[in-house]
């Protein structure tokens, strides 16, 4: 698994490629926690190059979204984790586990970043 980070004014974009399993999920969590520690709670995961995800990776995503949404500027504005470019196999895992309904999923990164 590799994570490439791009910083925008208000949003951070994490492009996750390769395999996120029990062996690599901790590394993904470190990237997310590092952003949280800086007070950056608006994150887009670009999953276009994600080949594989198992439950430890799903856990990182859901924990991240729970935490991000606790951060609020106003009642209407605050932190969130949003997802762009869900490959078909990953979409199937999302569908099986009910994750499709838990996240806002966008068809490209521009749209996802712009949604904040």
């Amino acid at each position: 698994m590799d994570v490439t980070h791009r910083r925008f004014n208000r949003v951070d974009l994490l492009e996750v490629t390769g395999r996120v399993d029990a062996a690599t999920a901790a590394k993904l969590k470190q990237h997310v926690d590092a952003l949280f520690d800086e007070g950056r709670y608006r994150i887009v995961f670009d999953l276009v190059g994600l080949e594989y995800i198992s439950s430890p990776g799903l856990r990182v995503l859901i924990e991240a979204r729970k935490r991000a949404r606790e951060w609020k500027i106003t009642d209407l504005e605050g932190g969130d984790i949003r997802i762009a470019n869900l490959p078909p196999k990953i979409k199937e895992v999302f569908d099986l586990t009910g994750f499709t309904g838990l996240f806002e999923i966008f068809s490209d990164t521009v749209e996802a970043v712009g949604s904040f």
Binding site: D21, A22, S55, L58, T97
Partner: protein
């Protein structure tokens, strides 16, 4: 049975994935089934690594597979603490984010991805997880086999078309015409088949023909339509060919 034994640590996951992927491909599982098996085995192995043993004192994990009678069987064994599947609550995958549990998805995914899953515990063998993936085609609800009888000509072709349409309106998209009892096919019959084929393709379906008598097959040969229609020797062969291309 082919098997490997590994130290149950996180480094084993990549080896397990490579081992089981090769096994699934050797057994003729399609790409999607291979991926499903890969994910199920990865989840099961992750459970062993994280829960059966203490992380700083990993024991052994044995993985074995066999393929027989359209069943791809995977057995995962460990000598760690006894696993009780009843103790793992089924996650409510429809609950909203705020109430959603962050864990518990591994076992759930295994049961969704595999056709049979059984957890056993033996005093000598430890935890034994048996998972089976079927490789026979799922019975498709949108597949219909229609036996056709007698002559298919200008007079009877509309009946054939109507019979197929009736199936299409009830959801059929993959149509297999069993022509074993068809004694004669005219150009009007051919034309009806061409239109049916085109209509099914437009709907994302397929038309396949099977068991043609010699004189009926000759009509397809003479008109060059053997290149257009998917023609099979047997109904079984045709049934297995749906979704496999060239229809």
């Amino acid at each position: 049975m082919d098997s490997i034994t590994l130290v149950a640590d996180l480094d084993a996951l990549a080896k397990i994935s490579a081992f089981i992927t090769e096994a699934a491909e050797l057994s003729g599982l399609d790409e999607r089934a291979t991926w499903q098996v890969q994910l199920a085995v990865d989840e099961a192995a992750t459970n062993v690594i994280q829960h059966a043993y203490d992380l700083d004192e990993p024991g052994e994990l044995m993985l074995a597979w066999e393929y027989a009678e359209s069943r791809f069987t995977v057995i995962l064994r460990d000598n760690g603490r006894q696993f009780d599947p009843e103790a793992v609550p089924t996650p409510d995958i429809s609950s909203p984010l705020e109430e959603r549990q962050v864990g518990g998805l591994g076992i759930y995914l295994i049961t969704r991805l595999m056709d049979e899953v059984r957890f056993d515990f033996h005093p000598q063998h430890g935890n034994v997880l048996t998972m089976v993936k079927y490789t026979t085609l799922d019975p498709r609800e949108d597949l219909v086999i229609l036996p056709i009888h007698g002559r298919v000509d200008a007079i009877t072709a509309p009946q054939l078309t109507a019979a197929v349409h009736e199936q299409i309106t009830t959801g059929a998209r993959f149509v297999l015409l069993d022509l074993a009892d068809v004694t004669f096919l005219s150009s009007s019959g051919l034309r009806a088949l061409l239109l049916i084929r085109k209509e099914l393709m437009t709907l994302g379906g397929e038309l396949r023909l099977a068991e043609l008598q010699t004189q009926v097959h000759e009509v397809f040969v003479l008109t060059g339509f053997t290149q257009v229609f998917a023609i099979h020797n047997t109904v079984e062969e045709a049934r297995g060919a749906f979704g496999q291309g060239r229809a």
